[in-house]
């Protein structure tokens, strides 16, 4: 084996040992491995966010793709972080509930403010996931109808039944108005 091939190979290994992604606007260069601060290849993005990075705003409910509690944005679209492996997120831009505030001013996103104004939560455990699903919808369609809002949130489990107040909160920030 020539020196160059060995170097190439080593480079590949060292590249493979990291996964780089952007989380809430910050580039994170995560090592892959078995140590507590590292990302295992089996770790879901949910696990990495909560356990490795301490971003506990994203909630774990079913860990099974069924409830939407763990919803985050990947390149602006809603994904279930419990069904996504961190090592597959290289180069992606992830936004969690913690990253929804205006990054310069720290002001709440209008959607967050609307949830407050409409008391669109009870226990609040499902709320981060619901807000992220709604945000993804609004990214795509700033003037959704009520039916479209309900459709976009139909994967989000809420047991307290905050649904009615949630729909009002989302419609209030829809540019088309309620």
């Amino acid at each position: 084996m020539s020196d160059i091939t060995v170097r190439e190979k080593n480079k590949k290994i060292s590249q493979a040992k990291r996964v780089t992604l952007i989380i809430n606007g910050e580039q994170r260069n995560l090592e892959i491995g078995h140590l507590p601060h590292q990302v295992e290849t089996t770790h879901t993005l949910l696990h990495t966010l909560r356990e490795t990075l301490g971003l506990t705003g994203t909630k774990l409910t079913c860990d099974n793709g069924a409830c939407g509690s763990c919803t985050v944005l990947m390149d602006g679209k809603a994904i279930l972080s419990c069904m996504t492996l961190t090592v597959e997120c290289g180069g992606k831009d992830i936004t969690t509930i913690e990253g929804l505030k205006d990054r310069d001013t720290g002001a709440l996103d209008p959607l967050q403010q609307s949830f407050i104004d409409h008391t669109a939560f009870q226990c609040g455990f499902c709320t981060p996931g619901i807000i992220m699903s709604a945000k993804a919808l609004l990214n795509e369609n700033s003037t959704p109808t009520e039916v479209q809002v309900k459709e976009a949130l139909s994967g989000n489990f809420c047991r307290c039944i905050s649904h009615y107040q949630v729909v009002r909160a989302v419609m209030a920030v829809s540019e088309g108005g309620a």
Binding site: Q112, I116, Q122, G124, S162, H163
Partner: protein
């Protein structure tokens, strides 16, 4: 609104609102602990078995495993009512019963270790059906419960705890009846409230005998009390409460989860966290009790109930913690909705080899009425009585009485709810839609619409005790010291409003303590809709006490009488002389004013919720669609309008109305496994299937506390299920007597498919 309040009755921002929408509220699983170990439970694959042998050597050798506990190396801690269920036993009584506890440096290692434990079981015969369980020769779960009948009575409710309703003269009652019906109905589908946040605990044991437990329960003092009975009074127990990610009554008692963490911490000397998976949550935490009732009812043409006799069977699964309490409360609640002079209603609580039933909102009354109202309906139908008129006539009126949970007779001193019922009926259009029993309200092709009505109310709004401290800092801020956690109703914010009203202080200047059982005074917690009246009373009287102390200090300075003083925005003045005012701090910067408030139980008030539903049934497919719900109630005084709306909308989920339409726990009758223990197979309502909900809320002042309000949140789920059964029966023109009204059952009732009886009864 009854009075021009500054905060009460107005929508104000919840004090945890920003935290909730930014993801910074710290639920239990979000809290960081140093040096933490993670726990897993190895669970029984058999519904009934004896552990013959456990080989944990392979698991113990796994790197990162710190402790493995089995029945052989734990203290003889027992829970249940009575306390016969060992925390880790040799005898396993349901699929999911605990075989071993593992603590390891990561969840993955703990999980791997659990798969390396070899267990040899002696399989025992199991029983899943309550009626089978009481037959001679049935498998027995406990030596202490012959015939699988659990010891009646809930000790905390006292020696006369209600276990039956027996009064009047049955012969006379039935002789007076103009119609007598007899039948059986069940609400036996054991739905699961499934809050999104799973049960969990973190415990740190310190030698020789102190444990600190971080909990996600409704009331840390209840945890402390419960655990103290189990661990022994020599163990010092501190509990710290966290916001609860949904409870619906289930997170009142989580002793097993807390004891698992405690035992593992005791074995390792490190903090140990246990968080159930959703599968464990559904298969090994809390189900609604199963309910079956056989009853004979006598009724007169005018809707007077002359006699009720029968038996109510409550299925509690593999053990009971609170079923006796639910049974007692249910028996009280059935009297509140049914005026009747002659009762002979007996009960049994039965254990079987399934996951346990436990505390769930609706607490006994929902279970009993879902079985009882369909039987009453048959009598009403024979007499051609409108069920709405029946409910209105028979719901308790001021001056009437009932036996409550402690076995004592109480006279109701609350309001007449007829007006709220009438307003609800009007909003729903009951008169136009009600076409008589088994008559659809509308039909179009294969679609039939039907309407139904149900009612529920309880005298638990004033149950148990609450205490609170209100501390004034003389610079003009206030702290409420309470053990309450926020469990979703927004009540912690409501107490801030109540205190703000008493002290006339901006809400931003009122803080609320973290929740614990270390410093905060006793509180039974927000159960049974007691938050507004019982807990509110404690907070109000603590604030009033603090104000009195403040005025005693201010009176000499102002040269006025204590009774003449007022305070607004941190200033004190004599009534009518606001220009001669002093700030609180004039009473001294170096002092703490601590007000104390206490509420003692009062069972003479009850709330009331009437729910009207309209369904559409497709007679081709059997699908039932809920179209429209009207909840009607009177709360005396609204504290927080959006918070109240949320509670009332909650009527659908957490094993409420939807437990009559599609929610159920399905147990394989041959293996005892729960077949739908995940959020894909356990059905829940999505955003795209929302019916219209309209809430009619009256505000007739009620003699509770100074704001004349009572709570209704807990009961919102309860009237709906029986109303659904009624509505679907009316829509399809034939009686249904099982929950939920799945397409299969609807089609069977229409004789379109062969029925498969499994969870109900027959009339």
């Amino acid at each position: 609104m009854n009075e021009p309040y500054r905060y009460i009755g107005k929508a104000t921002q919840r004090n945890d609102a920003v935290g909730i929408v930014t993801g910074t509220v710290q639920y239990l699983n979000d809290v960081k602990f140093k040096n933490l170990l993670y726990a897993k439970v190895l669970r029984s694959p058999h519904p009934h078995a004896l552990i013959k042998n456990i080989d944990k050597s392979k698991a113990e050798n796994l790197k990162g495993v710190k402790a493995i506990l089995t029945w052989e190396n734990v203290p003889d801690w027992k829970g249940g009512t009575p306390g016969v269920t060992r925390i880790l036993g040799r005898r396993l009584r349901f699929v999911g019963d605990v075989v071993a506890l593992i603590a390891a440096t990561s969840e993955e290692i703990a999980k791997e270790a659990s798969s390396l434990i070899d267990v040899e079981y002696e399989i025992l015969p199991a029983v899943f059906d309550e009626e089978e369980a009481v037959k001679p020769g049935a498998p027995q779960l406990y030596d202490e419960f012959p015939g699988n009948i659990v010891t009646p009575g809930f000790p905390i409710f006292g020696p006369k705890c209600l276990t039956a309703i027996a009064m009047g003269d049955m012969d006379k009652g039935f002789a007076e009846a103009e119609v007598i019906v007899e039948g059986t109905c069940g609400y036996a589908n054991i739905p699961n409230p499934i809050p999104p946040e799973p049960p969990g605990a973190v415990a740190l044991w310190e030698e020789p005998s102190r444990v600190t437990i971080w909990v996600s329960n409704q009331a840390p003092h209840v945890d402390r009390m419960t655990l103290s009975e189990i661990f022994g009074h020599e163990v010092e127990i501190f509990t710290h409460g966290h916001p609860v990610g949904g409870s619906f009554g289930t997170k009142i008692i989580t002793w097993q989860v807390q004891a698992f963490a405690t035992l593992l911490s005791r074995a390792t000397g490190r903090p140990v966290k246990i968080i159930y998976t959703k599968e464990e949550h559904i298969a090994a935490f809390v189900l609604r009790p199963s309910s079956k009732m056989h009853a004979r009812v006598g009724m007169k043409k005018d809707g007077t109930v002359t006699a009720v006799s029968g038996k109510w069977l409550v299925g509690t699964g593999h053990y009971s913690m609170t079923s006796q309490a639910q049974l007692a409360v249910g028996l009280g609640e059935v009297q509140i909705m049914t005026r009747c002079a002659n009762w002979d209603l007996q009960t049994d609580i039965i254990c079987t080899n399934r996951n346990a039933s436990g505390s769930v909102r609706g607490f006994g009354g929902q279970e009993l009425k879902c079985a009882f109202i369909p039987i009453l309906s048959r009598a009403m139908a024979q007499l051609n009585l409108d069920p709405f008129e029946f409910i209105k006539k028979n719901y308790i009126k001021p001056g009437e009485g009932y036996f409550w949970r402690d076995g004592n007779w109480y006279i109701y001193r609350g309001i007449d709810y007829s007006e709220a019922m009438d307003k609800g009926a009007e909003r729903f259009g009951w008169k136009e839609k009600w076409r008589g029993w088994l008559q659809p309200s509308a039909q179009k092709g294969s679609l039939r619409s039907g309407v139904g009505v149900g009612v529920h109310g309880n005298a638990d709004i004033g149950e148990d005790t609450s205490e609170a401290y209100v501390r004034l800092s003389t610079e003009g801020t206030v702290t409420l010291i309470t053990s309450l956690t926020e469990h979703g109703t927004g009540q912690r914010s409501n107490y801030v409003k109540m205190i703000g009203e008493v002290l006339q202080l901006p809400l931003e200047r009122i803080f609320i303590s973290a929740s614990d059982s270390v410093i905060a005074p006793f509180d039974f917690g927000p159960v049974g809709s007691r938050g507004t009246y019982a807990i509110g009373s404690a907070a109000i009287s603590a604030a009033e006490d603090a104000k009195r102390q403040l005025f005693q200090l201010a009176a000499p300075i102002l040269g006025a009488n204590v009774e003449d003083l007022e305070t607004v925005d941190g200033l004190i003045f004599a009534k009518g002389k606001p220009e001669q005012c002093i700030p609180w701090i004039a009473t001294g910067h170096d002092r703490t004013i601590m007000g104390y408030g206490r509420f003692d139980p009062d069972y003479t008030l009850a709330n009331c919720m009437t729910t009207f539903v309209e369904v559409e049934v497709d007679t081709e497919t059997g699908k039932v669609t809920l179209q429209n719900v009207v909840n009607a109630t009177d709360v005396g005084q609204i504290i927080d309008p959006p918070g109240l709306e949320g509670q009332l909308n909650g009527c659908l989920g957490s094993s409420g109305i939807d437990s009559a339409i599609f929610e159920e726990t399905i147990i394989d009758p041959t293996t005892g496994h729960i077949l739908n223990a995940n959020l894909i197979d356990y059905k829940w309502r999505t955003f795209s299937e929302l019916p219209e909900i309209d809430n009619v809320v009256l505000e007739t002042p009620i003699s509770s506390h100074r704001f004349r309000a009572i709570g209704v949140g807990e009961v919102a789920t309860s009237p709906g299920p029986s109303a659904i059964l009624m509505a679907v029966s009316n829509a399809i023109g034939t009686w249904l007597h099982e929950y939920p009204v799945t397409p299969e059952r609807v089609l069977a009732a229409l004789n379109k498919v062969k029925s498969q009886e499994h969870a109900g009864g027959a009339l």
